[in-house]
Symmetry: D2
Subunit: 216 residues, 4 copies
């Protein structure tokens, strides 16, 4: 068993990046961005430096590699921010019960990390922690986090206990999360717990990285 002790540097150096997958370019308001910001705020309360990118504002090209695709592909610059982070917050709206096409595009680009494994058999995102934030008018949050967790674990992220915060309204209704008068308490406390767990797990995995992948 490991002996693990807190040091004075405990809260140093952790960074989180939120990738917001709304379909609406800035400066439109965005419920998924709002929830992402709430997760980041809670991460800051846990000593994490944060950064947010609204993906649709950048010209991310279609494909499944991590390097640049054609001219003007925005992904490599976004990826650089991701590689500098310890925690990924993947935030998305729900459309037709599923994550946005932008989230799927981000996951497709992340698929490219699997071709970049090092001599330990680890992709460049190994040891990073991923959590998910999902909002929709109605229905689809569990399916969305399921898709996210599967893809993120596959490429090398670790998913903490309680790895998602979400809000959806009653079936067939149209209010947006950003138009609620107050954040529902269960959502707020879930958001806070997601941040606590993500920060804790990221700290652990940064302190004691995964050993090399086994060969069969």
């Amino acid at each position: 068993m490991y002996a693990v002790t807190n040091t004075s540097a405990q809260n140093a150096a952790l960074r989180a990046l939120a990738l917001v997958c709304t379909l609406s370019p800035s400066p439109a308001r965005s419920s998924s961005q709002l929830l992402a910001e709430q997760v980041l705020e809670q991460l800051e309360n846990n000593g994490v430096e944060t950064e947010l990118i609204r993906v649709v504002d950048h010209d991310v090209h279609y494909g499944v590699v991590s390097g640049p695709i054609g001219e003007g592909d925005a992904w490599p610059a976004i990826r650089e921010r991701l590689l500098a982070a310890d925690i990924l917050v993947l935030a998305t709206p729900i459309w037709m019960g599923n994550p946005s096409s932008i989230m799927r595009k981000v996951l497709e680009r992340l698929d490219g990390e699997l071709s970049e494994t090092d001599d330990q058999g680890h992709s460049p995102v190994y040891g990073k922690v991923a959590v998910v934030a999902v909002v929709g008018n109605e229905d689809g949050a569990h399916n969305t986090s399921a898709q996210a967790f599967q893809a993120l674990s596959d490429v090398g992220f670790t998913v903490p206990a309680a790895g998602v915060t979400y809000w959806v309204g009653e079936a067939m209704q149209g209010t947006d999360y950003q138009d609620l008068e107050t954040t529902p308490e269960p959502v707020a406390s879930t958001t806070a717990t997601v941040a606590v767990n993500a920060a804790h797990l990221a700290r652990l995995l940064k302190s004691v990285p995964y050993p090399p992948a086994a060969s069969s």
Copy 2:
């Protein structure tokens, strides 16, 4: 940041439980049991004590609570084994592109853990690690691990990088995993990596548990 050092007790005390969700009662052969056994063997190579339960051999009642449902419900005894374990290996066949009804029944019972949170806001499975093993004639492994990861994270398990090993054959073909002459190399090395990561993460989380859930 944590300072973490290996101690002589490093390999002590970790336990894994495989819940095999085949539809076929013993003594029928089972591909999902075979893959679960391969995961357990690799976990043993990482110093983990292991145990396997074929769920369909036991009379698990339908419901969404952790305690006994009616007379003769086998779940509480299975749950006791789960609570004694640090790592859950959830193994399932694929039917119609999805996990078996037995796996869904197990997840329904695990949903009950959310009603058993302690004064830290933690369910009884908090701090445990879960990995998944999936086999089918064809198609459905990603959807199956997605469903598993979502439910398992929701109730308090942590999912490591590379949290699933799986095998499926070509579309519309009928060979079973257990009838392959040899285990395909990519499957064998994935199985080994799943075990390395699960053992590592379980050790970390046992050494340094999640802090109390935040209140908003």
Copy 3:
């Protein structure tokens, strides 16, 4: 193009069977049964005779064949009712964002129909129409109907436009559909439309069956 004319027998002979996949045996109240009954009532308004089976009340064995599995398997008798029907109403609660384990068990048994194709390449359910009714406290209806539609189309059912009615509440809340004071209007009108479309399509396909499956 077909010339199709209504005859005096237009409303004769159509039958619908609801399979309710609640986890709770009778006589417990059931939200999914309530919604199924509402679909059946609307089907009756469209001249359809109806029947409802609560699956958990019967000892349906696990497996993927249509014939009896071991002693006392209740599926063959249920299947007989299904084969006598023109419309299947598959009703299920949501647990952890997914259909109940009972619904998955029903789909597993339906998978067996694919082994019973006739000399036209048609399974015994070919030409039948399937619709879905889904209720949960929160979230999961789209994922549930997605799973149902895929499996049902695969085994030979046809899915009409607007093939699902559903209700879920706001995220992380606990009210049941059966405890709502009134049925929300959008749910009620969706239920009615599902019935109109199912009856129309079933009549068409009964009048003019699918031609034989092509050989490549």
Copy 4:
């Protein structure tokens, strides 16, 4: 019951549109386009006129409305071709076990049809038939068709028996469908059956449209 008789015009006038959702712009080869072409060829054998659009070659903007979004949005022109068709063939590759981000983008734009219902309560695609064609190196076809069927039924398409043809290879392998030496026989005959059923159902629904949606 309807009396339906074939007329000399039986094979007239049916049209199919394939929307191919590969991530690769022309002139790159595309497995999903190949499978779409095979479906269209079989539809032609059933008297259907066909057309194919590779979506990524056009600048479809992000959003959930059917009308133009900003300047230069290619969707309205594609939508015009869709509205002129009786059958939609939605073809997609699989990435990380899911349909491509392009397919999700197409479904998001189709979501806009629900805001265009006529005085019968029907969206503009009501009465059209949709089928799906899915290819991937490995795993994900059932989940992909599930997502497609759910969204397509929701907006008003009808899904025939056997509404999908697909190919995927063995787990963790890398051969493409377009590089197979011959089309596997089960895939070819499924493709042919999908076409037979789609053409039959489209003819029926064109001859005898759905009645007006019920008000509750």
